[in-house]
Symmetry: C2
């Protein structure tokens, strides 16, 4: 059995489900969430929005708190929420048990360092293994969008920037925009990628945006919302570095600063409608 | 200081806040949640929808999971979420530590039995002390509506039925409709109210509905949604007993059975829009 169904709840006329499967990429069992809107239940092949959550989260936070199913049901989108790290027996955690690295904090990169490299390959999992599974087992098309929050916003941008053509659209809420210069990113990348900072740049949205300059590759527009009262904005998230990087490179970035909003899911819930309509619009356009 | 602010998160242009206060009624410190929509921030005096949650919940479940703030912001409603029981040092819990009675399971009655009577007076708290506090401290009118889920659906109906004129409207999701004949209700009422079943009836929606028959009192219409795949429907919730009681008494009850839905907050989220629009409509009507 490829997929073990853990739960199934009717929601806005569709179904919110959780599945467990064995991941070859991560060498452990993984759980993911999927929302199948009413159109999927009726047999349509629908586009998929992948959502990457932030530090300490699992596949469940977004499905519980963002209010996204209402819109997915209206717009005919499948939502898929992977977990935020490998888990289970034998998967190493932060040596000091901190919440900002290790379990619940895989940072959506492919680790190269011992003991992380065996399991911490979340980029490969999110970009390839999980979509292949979803596209084989569920009534979905090969049209994909990706979004996420905080560490997951970093993940979404990096997935889209590293894999031109794989996503129709990308957005982020309060992303770690420049992880190679943020304490969270520096800690994670040192463990997962080692001390050579040159190996970090292919996992940094700002560096990836800079690298597109002058190249004749796809430059997928990025939509970012950032709360102005987010307690992590200056030290960890650095939206202005992201903006400067995009401006220098002529990269299409829409960065919206939202007065009064913080880093919580109350912020995500307040603007998820804009993001899902943005994705639905791009997913509905004919192929280039 | 009457109110201690615990958290404040901007949400759909308004503010989701949590406060702690000393409750005289419950003889302990209590936490509640309040959503103040943008109209309240601008100084309008708005009606309040009180939401009573179910077994094991706190003030937070509804605010996290129901997606209600979007609608409250649109409709100009304040939302208030009390906790589901007294809490804190000295507040007794279920003798066997079960989840279906005691802490997180106050059943919205006023206990008469030792050791419960000192603290377990959730009805009085929800109907009088908390609204008095809300109406003194926040920009709200004296127009009130009440709703809830499961144990809180029972609570909402009983609050409205016992206090004619106090609420403009009442609704419930999957309420314990006839607690005097459900195992959850029997356990709680035996502890809180004692062995004399005659003392239970004033806390049972079916008995209260029956008692309105032939009387010239206000009969506030009740809107109920019930998922048809709710695992608790037959043993604990008994919507058909509620329906029969209303039919016998000519009481205005709208009971909607929703195919495929279960007892979770995914069900509540799917239909909260209907309920909040229902309450907003009643709250907007001129006084009788």
């Amino acid at each position: 059995m490829t997929l073990e169904l853990l739960s199934s709840n009717k929601c806005f006329g569709g179904w919110n489900k959780r599945y467990r499967h064995r991941s070859r990429t991560l060498d452990c069992e993984m759980v993911f969430g999927i929302y199948l809107p009413p159109q999927a239940v009726r047999g349509a092949k629908l586009p998929v929005v992948y959502w990457l959550s932030g530090l300490t989260c699992t596949d469940e936070n977004f499905m519980h708190k963002a209010g996204a199913q209402r819109l997915a049901a209206e717009l005919g989108l499948v939502l898929v929420t992977p977990d935020t790290s490998p888990r289970g027996p034998g998967v190493p955690d932060d040596p000091e048990g901190a919440w900002d690295f290790g379990l619940g904090a895989g940072f959506y990169v492919d680790a190269t360092q011992h003991p992380w490299a065996q399991h911490y390959r979340m980029h490969d999992y999110v970009v390839r293994e999980l979509p292949a599974l979803i596209e084989a087992e569920f009534p979905v098309s090969e049209l994909r969008a990706i979004s996420g929050h905080s560490m997951g916003g970093h993940g979404a941008m990096v997935c889209a920037l590293r894999n031109p053509g794989r996503y129709r659209s990308v957005s982020a809420f309060a992303p770690i925009g420049n992880p190679i210069s943020s304490p969270w990113g520096e800690k994670a990348f040192t463990h997962l990628l080692g001390d050579d900072h040159a190996t970090w740049k292919p996992w940094d949205a700002c560096a990836l945006i800079a690298a597109t300059r002058g190249k004749d590759c796809e430059r997928l527009p990025i939509l970012v919302d950032q709360g102005e009262d987010d307690e992590f904005v200056d030290l960890q998230l650095k939206p202005e570095v992201l903006r400067a990087s995009a401006e220098t490179s002529g990269y299409p970035l829409t960065l919206r600063r939202q007065p009064g909003y913080d880093h919580s899911y109350y912020f995500v819930a307040s603007f998820i409608e804009d993001h899902l309509r943005y994705h639905a619009q791009h997913l509905a356009q004919p192929s280039a």
